[in-house]
Amino acid sequence: MLEINKLSVKYDNIRVLHYISMQIRKGEMVALIGANGAGKTTVLKTISGLLKADSGEILFEGKDITKMSSHNIVASGIVHVPEGRQIFTKMTIEENLKLGAYLQRDKSVMKRNFEKVFSLFPILKQRLHQQAGTLSGGEQQMLAIGRALLGNPKLLLLDEPSMGLSPIMTQQVFSVLESLKKEGITMLLVEQNAYEALEISDRAYILETGNITLEGRSSDLIQDPNVKKAYLGGD
């Protein structure tokens, strides 16, 4: 579904991604794991067109999206839940969700998606007319995910959805991801919370200072001594 070939990205003149290659198959949940500053967010931002690749290519459903602008990438079915949630704090919950469905012209699809989001996150329905900035961190994360689902994603990019959340909230977010996975939504999950990410995902890539150093089935990686040592805080 998504194929990244020898992708290189520079900030000013410093290369932060060194010709990385990745694949995501339809229906798969792939985790991208790495330390702070490894370039995980850069990968997602480049896929969604917020950053431009220096070289290499990104193919989505066989189509080259490397040079496409963000709004066209969203239109092709890739929806990005950015780091730090980035909700529209001065707008209402309802407006935030409607913005998620900005490109959705089919009212019946939109209605169905709204209902799906409300069943996943009942709290959002109760607070429809509240300003989004007044939500707690966990609720904002739910809004960010809900907003993304209204974009009817074929591929969902999730950047640190558990960041800054309490353990209970983190569990809630992961259980939502679990149910999205069961629905068959293809996902690329960036996480610092490596253990949870490996538990929930099918496959994973390990990113170290802009290079992919390891890839494989998540169930294998979770047993890998090097991964354990570096990311799972274990022996």
Binding site: S48, H71, P82, Q86, K90, M91, E95, L99, Y102, G151
Partner: protein, 299 residues
């Protein structure tokens, strides 16, 4: 009693001036809300509109409403050209870069107008039916003044409805709230920015007509100071907030006319300075402006 009547008359004059500031400030605030761009050329777009009207009226004898329409179109074209040529390439370069670039556009437009039309002041006469005076009690208003008040009122209502209720309006609010997140919603932010510039430039042209009709002379630099004051009005009201821009416009207009009218003649030359001092004083007490929020949000 005479003093009170004088006060009233000056207040009405202030309302006239304030409505011009309000209209310009709304455009200013819209663009600022999205791009955080202080567009110094905004007032000069107004000048471009006024000169367009003058040329079409005097040289070609086109009816006024046609010239107004054309001046709005030309102002929009110039505004969009400035956005495309001078601001968009610098969008990732930081706010200072675009601010300096907008000063360059301002100087360019002023000099272009001087080259084409000469730096001399020119008389600007509205058709008789518009400059005819109506006396209401002690207050004299021209037909143009009445049309202006009505126009300001209608424009502001239409604009706030567009911003609150329409798809493009929601996209504009989203962009001013969080530009990057807006991209991720599938909003074509260039289209939104172009819309904001188009509305701002069109409104600037209209306000130019109001101003020129009031002062009856025009010159190539006429837009710059009102542009600055409109910026002050937008900041005073709370930049990014449309209702704030309107409120700020009226406050500045009335304050300026009261100062000019009530101070001894020796001081009236300082009316521009007074406006800027007023801005500073308000910002000392309310750094985000009267209706502004901390992040410069639109309300």
């Amino acid at each position: 009693m005479d003093g009170f009547i004088y006060f009233l008359i000056q207040s009405v004059n202030g309302l006239k001036l304030g409505s011009v500031y309000a209209i310009v400030a709304v455009g200013y605030s819209m663009v600022y809300g999205i791009l955080r761009l202080i567009n110094f050329a905004h007032g000069d777009i107004m000048t471009v509109g006024v000169y367009t009207i003058l040329v079409l009226m005097t040289a070609f004898g086109v009816p006024l409403w046609v010239t107004v329409l054309l001046s709005v179109v030309i102002a929009i074209v110039v505004g969009l050209a400035a956005e495309r040529i001078a601001y968009r390439p610098l969008r990732t370069a930081g706010e200072e870069a675009t601010l300096i670039s907008s000063l360059a556009v301002s100087i360019f437009l002023q000099n272009l107008i001087m080259m084409v039309f000469s730096p001399q002041r020119k008389a600007f006469h509205l058709p008789e039916y518009l400059s005819r005076l109506h006396t209401i009690g002690f207050i004299k208003l021209s037909t143009m003044n009445i049309i202006t008040f009505a126009a300001v009122f209608i424009i502001l209502i239409v604009l706030s409805l567009v911003i609150k209720k329409t798809r493009i309006g929601m996209a504009m609010r989203a962009c001013s709230d969080n530009l990057n997140a807006s991209k991720l919603m599938g909003i074509n932010i260039n289209a939104v920015i172009v819309t904001a510039f188009a509305i701002g430039s069109g409104l600037a042209a209209l306000s130019g007509l109001m101003l020129a009709g009031e002062y009856k002379t025009i010159d190539p630099l006429m837009g710059f100071v009102p542009g600055l004051k409109a910026f002050c009005a937008a900041v005073l009201g709370g930049i990014g907030s449309l209702s704030g821009a309107v409120l700020g416009g009226f406050i500045l207009g009335i304050a300026e006319m009261l100062f000019a009218g009530l101070m001894p003649t020796d001081f009236t030359a300082y009316r521009d300075a007074f406006v800027f001092v007023l801005l500073i004083l308000v910002l000392l007490v309310r750094p985000y402006g009267i209706l502004g929020s901390k992040e410069g949000g639109r309300s």
